[in-house]
Amino acid sequence: MRLWLLAAAVLLLAAASAAHVGSPNVYYEGEAGPYRVRVVVRPPTAIPGTAETTVSVAGGPATLSIQAVAAGTPAERAAAQAGRPVAGVEGMYSAELWLLEPGAYAIRVHLHGEAGHGEAVVPINAVNRQPQPMPAATAAALAAIAAILVAGAGLLAAAAFPGGAGRLAGATGAGVAFVLLALFLREWSAYDRDFRGNKLFEPMPVRARALVDEGGRYVEVTRVADDRGSRAWPRLVTDHGKLMHAFLIREPTLDAFAHVHPRPTSSGDFIVAAPTLPAGRYRLYADITLESGLSETLSTDFDLPGEPSGGGSALVVPDPDDSLRIVGPVPAPPLSTVEQCDLGGGYSMRWQNPEIADDPDIGELRFAVEDGDGKPARLQPYMGMLGHAAVRRLDGEVFAHLHPVGSISMASQEVLAMADSGEGGHAGHAMTDPHAAHRAATESEASVAFPFEFPKPGPYRIWIQVKVAGEVLTGVFDTQVERVR
């Protein structure tokens, strides 16, 4: 059955070209009325499919009803499922939610209990991703069955013509079955080509280039023309007052890192003043949220030239929330874990749970900041958050931008929460307050945690950004992830 093996090989090859970001699971932590919830959504790789959803509730016993609401459809049209208690884990519930159409979905968790009524809205992207290659055992079983069916067709044909014609009939029967099998595989590979060519979710292709004048260096992000030749950007919504949050990471050493906020130009593209980064090849990751609630991470490479000598008028002023950090190049993998990072100004940051590299059940990255005296440092909100994290696998197969509320785009959450409040108007009804995290950030805390699980094993570099005494400080950590869920 060479054809089967061929088909399996084709599938394997196609799957090797990986997605840009590679971290599809969604983590959310926040308030839902009187409760505090942690929601983990594992979306399917193909739509329609089911999203494994688990909700951990703190703040009292509650019954849960969970909906997956497609953007643009009213919540009352969505089916509601009761959260099933997870045996042996108090306060944890699970549900399998069906996602029928590609696009943005709001996972709405309704809680009812003695403490009152609460609701959390978790935005997710329901999109088709690269199919996983067929497991070898499955391929082997199918190949064996195909062989049995071809041989069986021959035996049946031979049995149908007892006597001298049997042998010829048997050969004919097996031949016909083999041809049908080949046609079937051709149909399959056409389906696969169509799926990979037309149905996969591709973040909008963009191009970045550096512009230089006497005043400085700038990075311009333009959209690559789509099928219809249009280079216009879709309508975007702001996340913490910015339409685009971008990270610049120098390749392949990952030593230079910047978090910048390009702003739209009159032509509709985006531009930002390049921070004082060394020249080199950079990868740009740009997070945007569409009006539909769909969030995307755009990605491209560009070359940054050296700093110009003169200092003239700046074409674009830097955004006050822009920040950067330059450290040593990442060593060759396997990486030994870096647990401590000097932040400058006497401050240092410590990774409190590096053991997450071997234990995916921990489910969060936690860091603490100390001042020069070894005392806990008071963290201030940086763009409304107690911290920002960027997680990157060395080869770029994984990149995630995290906050203490998780991996969601808060702009998507606002879009989807406002689009329809479902059973709005009920007494005691409490919407998720998208600004709850902002309030939380005003409390003094010396540590910050990001709900996350590493999606794939391998060597990772992690950047953690916090604000202390008005300064944005960036800690850089390395680890070698061994075990994932």
């Binding site: 790789t45 089911t50 459809t73 499922q81 996983q132 067929m134 199918l142 079937f184 389906y191 799926f195």
Partner: protein, 354 residues
Amino acid sequence: MTIRGGEVVLGMVLSATAMVVGVVWDISWDASIGADSFWSPPHMAINFGAAAAGLFALGGLLASGGHRHSAVVRVGTGAVVWGAVAMLGWVILDDWWGQAYGLFGERWSPPELLFTVSAAVILFGTAAAVSGDAQEKGFPGAFWVAGIAMVFGVAAMTPYGLPNLHRTATFYLVVSAVFPAILLVAARATEGGWGATRAACVYSATICGLVWILPRFAARPTIGPIYQPIEAFLPPSFPLLLIAPALAMDWVLRRLDGEVSRVAAAGAVFVLSYLPVQWLFASFLLSPMSDNAFFAGGGRHWPFYAEIGPERSLFWGTEQDPIGLMTIAGCFVAASVSSRIGLSLGAWMVGSRR
């Protein structure tokens, strides 16, 4: 170990019946509840039905050593084993397919093709085994299997068999290509005559039973968006009036000699006795008069995900896919070819003996 052929064949017939009823139930499940898993009851009926048919057949082959029966019984029994192995391949492929390309596969995606072929071969094999066995031991069940095969044929046509499409050329061309063959296998292979009529009765009674029974059980969609208020299982469409051509073909064939005249007559009789009847009946099925529990018509019953307006009780595609003289000629050709196949297969099933 001795297994009597009649018992093996009866087991195959009942298993194939469970499989086909499972298919119709599964279509209703998908339209009413939406989410189904490998372990949903209709899937169990399909999978266990196919597996049991295969095991009965395998048991029959092993117990007899394959020698005591006629070629027809051997081929039929072997075909059921073949179909069950193909169905196992479908289960494995479909499970992976759903993860890779999405659940609820498109119509005629490769897994669906494989499933259709597997089930059709199981039904063909069962019909052959029953017919051949009837020559030996007397279990005259060919018409029953043919009726069940008609149920499967209509299920495989979903959703192109909707009454709203009963004024399109494609519908009549497909029906003319598929059903004369099944009806004539029944006519030829059933002892005692009136095989096509009896098969059509089995088909109509099975679908009617599901039309009347399924809506008695509660069901609620578990996926959104939900556009149709559904509280019970959706009934399938009322049976096609294939009883009319079945009666006509049985009646005419008894009065004809010679294969050529039979084939020509069967094709013509099918087209003349089916097209006008279904054409007229379709108006009734879309009218408020049929909006009741008996006919489940009037354009009332739609899957929860269907966002449908007044077109629910209108004919569709009458302009894009109109019925003309060429359609009727095409139906005649299709029905004649189908009749030729059915008559030959039926003759083979009862004719070739040990």
